[in-house]
Amino acid sequence: MKKTVVVILGVLLAFIVGAILLSAQGYHPIESYISMFKNSLLTKIALGNTLARMAIFIMLGLAAYFGFNSGVSNLGLFGQLLMGALVATLIGQHLNASPVIAIPLMLIAAAIAGGVYSGIAALFRLGFGMNEFITTLMMNFIAKYLIAYLVTNPMRDPNSQWPMSRPILQSNVFSRIGDIDMTVFLAILIFIIVFLYWNFTRRGYEFRLTGANNLFARLGGCEVNKNFFSSMVISGVLAGIAGAFLIMGSTQQNKLIPNLGETNASDGLMIAIISGQSMPSVLFFSLFFGIIQTGSVGMQMDTNVPSEFTVMLQAIMVLFVVAFRDYSELFINLIKARSKSRKLRTEDHEPVC
C-alpha cells in the first residue's frame, strides 16, 4: 500500500516538475500533457502503438528486473536484443513457410541468440571471475558494430539510400487483433509465466534470496553459481525476444537498422530500477513509458514541444520514485523518533517536578 502511494507521488511530482520546465520554456504545460495522452490513448491506432511499445518494454524491463533481483548486473540488454533481432531477421528474410511454423521458430531462435550472448558473459564470470557488469557492457559494443557492419555491407538493402537490411517476408510479420499487435498478448503471456516462475517455484525462491543475500543463500544450500548462470541466460532470452519483437512487430520497420532498440534497452534498465522489488510495477511502468513515448510524437506536432522532452520526463520520474522509495521511510521514521523522544522526556519528568 505504502509502496503504491510512493510510486503515485513520485510520478505526480515528476509531472509537476516537467510542467515547470515546460512553462519556463514558454510552452503551455497542461495543453501539452493533454495532447500527450490524447495522442497515445484516445485513438485506436495510437492505443495500438502505445501497447506495442509497452510489449517491448515489458520484455526488456523484465529482463533487467530478473537480473537485478537475482544478483546479476546484466547491462547487456542492448547487445542481447541485437543478437535476437539479427537471428530473427536472417530467418525472417528467407524462411518462406507457414507463419505457424516460421514465427515461433524466429522467436525461439532469437531467444536462444539472446541467451547465448548473455551466457557467454556469465561463463566469463564463473570461469575467470570477470565482472559481468563490465563484460555485458563491452559486449554491447561488439554487437552494435557487428550489426552496423552487416547492414552497411553484406546485408544491406541495395535499393535503400541508408544502411539497413532488406525487410523480412511479409508473411513473417506478426498479425494484429483489431489494432493490437500480437506481441502485446505474447508479452503479457510471458510476463505471467515469469511471474509465476519467480514467485511459485523453488528455483524462483533461490533467485530472489540469492539476489538479496548471496552468502546467506549459498550457506543455505542454494546453487548460487548455477543460479547466476541461469539468471543471466533468462535475462538474455527475454532481451532476445524483445529484439525479435522489434523486427517482427506489425508497428515496426521489420528490418535491421543500426542502433535498433538502443534507447529501448536503456529504458528497460530504467523500468527495472524504478520497479525496485515489485514485478507488477514493471507492467505498470512499461505501459506508462509506452504512453508518454507514443504521445510525445503527437505532442510535438500539436504543441511544438520537442518529443525529446519525454526522455527528461522519464529520467525525472526515475529519480523521484527511487528517491521517494528510499527516503520517505527514513524521513517518516525520523519524525516518529523525534516525537517519541519528546514524549519520553515529558512523561519521565512530570513526577520529578
Partner: protein, 513 residues
C-alpha cells in the same frame, strides 16, 4: 540538583533509533574524574549506545552533555577527542598491514617545517609513552603480526597518544583469554593511578566487581542505578541487570552419548595469505550423538575454519570429513545441508537475509529439503509455507508483527530464534553452532541454550564454538581447545577449570607436549 563541579554529566539522554526503537530512555548519569566507572547491562541495554553518544559517534535524539559544567556538543568523534575523550571499540580500528607506529599516529602525524612527515619525532614520543606504560613492542612491526591482546593495547596507546584523559573501553575482555584480561586490568589500574578516567563497558560481573570504583547498571535503555562499588555482590548486579533473579547455569542432565556422527580425520588447511601458516593442523575430532562438544580458543586459532570445513564452505588440503560413517569431504554445501544444521556467528550477513520476511528466512534450506511444503508438481505451496512459518513463530516464541514482517524489524534475540527454529526444524543428526548466542540478551540466551540441550537429548550431535568460556562450561559434555590450528587439549568440564582452559588457549600450557 546536580553537583556543579561534576566532571562529566550526561543529562536526560534519549536515543531513539528510527522509527521507535528506544535505545536510551531518558538516561542521566554523572562520572567522577580519576575513577574506573563501569557500565553494565545486557546486550541491548544501551550501555554501548550511551558511550557512543558521549564519544560523538551517535547523535542523541535529545539530551545534554556537560564537561566541568560546560555544555558540549559533539558532532563527531574528533570533537570528543579534542575534549580529551577516547574510545576503544570492540572491533579494533587498526589497519593490519600498517606498523604500530603508523597506526598510532594516523590522523595525528607530526610534520616538519615544510609539511613532510616527521616520523622520528613521532617515534620518540610514542616510545616514551610505551616505556612509561611498560609496553614492550617493536613499533615498526606490522599490527597483523601481533595477537589480539597486543592489538588492544595498541588501541589504548593510540588513544593515550592523542592525550585523552577519559578512556572508554567497550567490552574489552570479550576477545581476551582470562590471563590476558588480568594483564588488561593491570593496565587499567596504572592508567587510573595517573589520574585518567576509565569508562568500562562489560556484562561480565566478576570483572566489574574486580576493577570498578563506581558501577552503573542499565536495563532496556533505562538507567537502573549508579552505586559505588562497596559491598556489591554478583547477585545484586545480575538482578539489577535482568530485573529478576537469574540462574547462572542451564539445567542439564548427564546422558550417555551414542554412536559417532561427525568424524574429522587428519584435517589440515593451509593459509592462502601467509605461506607456511597452517589454519588447521592435523585436526582429529569425533562428535557422537547425544553429545555437545565445545570448542574453545582465542579468536583466530582455527575454530572458524574448522566450522567452514565441516559445513563445506572451505575444503581442507588434507583429511576427511565424515557424517554418520559416509565420507562427505567432496560434497557441496547443498548436499551437506541434508544432514547438517548450521548457525553462523554472523546473524546479519550469513544467517539471514535482513530485508526479507520472516517467512522467507525461515523457508531457506527447507525449500529443497522439506518436500511437504511443495506440491507434487514442484510448485511452492504458499498455504503450507505460511503455516510452517506461523508454527515456527509460535514454537520459538518469536515476538513479531506477523510472518510477513522483514526480519530486520525484529530484535537480535528474536532474529536468532527464527534462525534457530529454521535450523533445528530441519531435524538433522548434526548441529554446527558457531557462537549461537553472540550479542543476545540473557532471556534469549537461556532460551536458546535450553533448546540446544533439548536437541542433544533428542539425539543430535552438537559442535559448539564459543568465545565465552561460561557458555562452554555450562553446555558442553566435552571441551576441546584450539591453538594455532591444533587441538591442544580435550577435557571434561567437571575435571578442569577456566584457568586451565585459558592456559591452553594462550599456548602457555601444552606447547611442550
Amino acid at each position: 540538583m546536580q553537583a556543579e563541579n561534576s566532571f562529566i554529566r550526561m543529562e536526560s539522554i534519549v536515543k531513539i533509533f528510527p522509527p521507535s526503537n528506544v535505545a536510551l530512555d531518558n538516561v542521566s548519569v554523572e562520572i567522577e574524574e580519576g575513577k574506573v566507572h563501569s557500565f553494565i547491562g545486557e546486550n541491548g541495554a544501551g550501555k554501548s549506545t550511551l558511550m557512543k553518544v558521549l564519544f560523538g559517534l551517535e547523535p542523541a535524539t535529545s539530551g545534554q552533555i556537560y564537561i566541568h559544567g560546560e555544555k558540549v556538543n559533539f558532532h563527531s568523534p574528533n570533537d570528543a577527542v579534542a575534549k580529551g575523550i577516547g574510545m576503544v571499540h570492540q572491533e579494533f580500528m587498526l589497519i593490519p598491514s600498517y606498523t604500530i607506529l603508523e597506526n598510532v599516529i594516523l590522523g595525528y602525524e607530526d610534520t616538519n617545517k615544510i609539511g613532510l612527515l616527521d616520523l622520528n619525532r613521532s617515534r620518540k614520543k610514542l616510545q616514551a609513552l610505551c616505556d612509561q606504560m611498560g609496553f614492550d613492542v617493536n613499533l615498526d612491526e606490522k599490527v597483523e603480526n601481533y595477537s589480539v591482546a597486543i592489538q588492544q593495547k595498541v588501541e589504548i596507546i593510540k588513544q593515550l597518544y592523542r592525550e585523552v584523559n577519559v578512556l572508554i573501553l567497550d567490552e574489552p575482555t570479550a576477545v581476551l583469554a582470562p590471563q590476558e584480561a588480568d594483564e588488561l586490568f593491570k593496565m587499567v589500574e596504572s592508567l587510573k593511578a595517573e589520574g585518567k578516567t576509565i569508562l568500562f563497558i562489560s556484562h561480565k560481573l566478576d570483572e566489574i566487581l574486580q576493577i570498578s570504583d563506581t558501577v552503573t547498571v542499565m536495563r532496556q535503555g533505562e538507567h537502573v542505578w549508579t552505586k559505588p562499588n562497596v559491598g556489591l555482590t554478583k547477585t545484586d548486579l545480575a538482578e539489577a541487570m535482568v530485573g529478576r533473579s537469574v540462574l547462572f547455569t542451564v539445567e542439564k542432565t548427564k546422558i550417555e552419548h551414542g554412536e559417532p556422527v561427525l568424524e574429522l580425520k587428519n584435517i589440515s588447511l593451509k593459509s592462502d595469505k601467509v605461506a607456511g601458516r597452517m589454519l588447521l593442523d592435523d585436526v582429529n575430532l569425533t562428535v557422537h550423538e547425544k553429545e555437545i562438544v565445545g570448542v574453545a580458543g582465542v579468536e583466530g586459532n582455527g575454530q572458524y575454519e574448522l566450522v567452514q570445513v565441516v559445513i563445506g564452505n572451505q575444503f581442507p588440503d588434507e583429511g576427511t570429513v565424515s557424517v554418520l560413517g559416509s565420507d562427505i569431504s567432496k560434497d557441496t554445501i547443498r548436499s551437506r545441508r541434508e544432514s547438517i544444521s548450521y548457525i553462523s556467528q554472523d546473524r546479519k550477513l550469513a544467517g539471514s537475509s535482513q530485508d526479507d520476511s520472516i517467512q522467507d528466512n525461515a523457508f531457506m534450506s527447507h525449500h529443497y529439503l522439506n518436500d511437504s511444503l511443495v506440491t507434487k508438481n514442484k510448485i511452492l505451496d504458499k498455504g503450507k509455507i505460511a503455516s510452517f512459518a506461523d508454527e515456527l513463530i509460535k514454537k520459538y516464541n518469536v515476538v513479531c508483527e506477523s510472518r510477513k514482517a522483514p526480519i530486520k524489524s525484529l530484535s537480535g534475540g528474536n532474529q536468532q530464534k527464527v534462525i534457530v527454529g529454521r535450523e533445528f526444524g530441519l531435524e538433522h543428526p548434526l548441529l554446527v553452532l558457531d557462537q549461537p548466542v553472540r550479542g543476545l540478551d540473557v532471556g534469549s540466551i537461556e532460551y536458546i541454550h535450553s533448546r540446544i540441550i533439548e536437541q542433544r537429548d533428542a539425539g543430535a550431535a552438537v559442535l559448539l564454538v564459543s568465545a565465552d568460556l561460561d557458555e562452554l562450561f555450562s553446555l558442553s559434555d566435552r571441551i576441546i581447545v584450539m591453538y594455532k590450528g591444533k587441538i591442544v587439549a580435550e577435557r571434561i568440564p567437571e575435571d578442569t577449570t577456566r584457568n586451565e582452559i585459558g592456559g591452553y588457549m594462550l599456548g602457555s600450557i601444552g606447547d611442550s607436549q
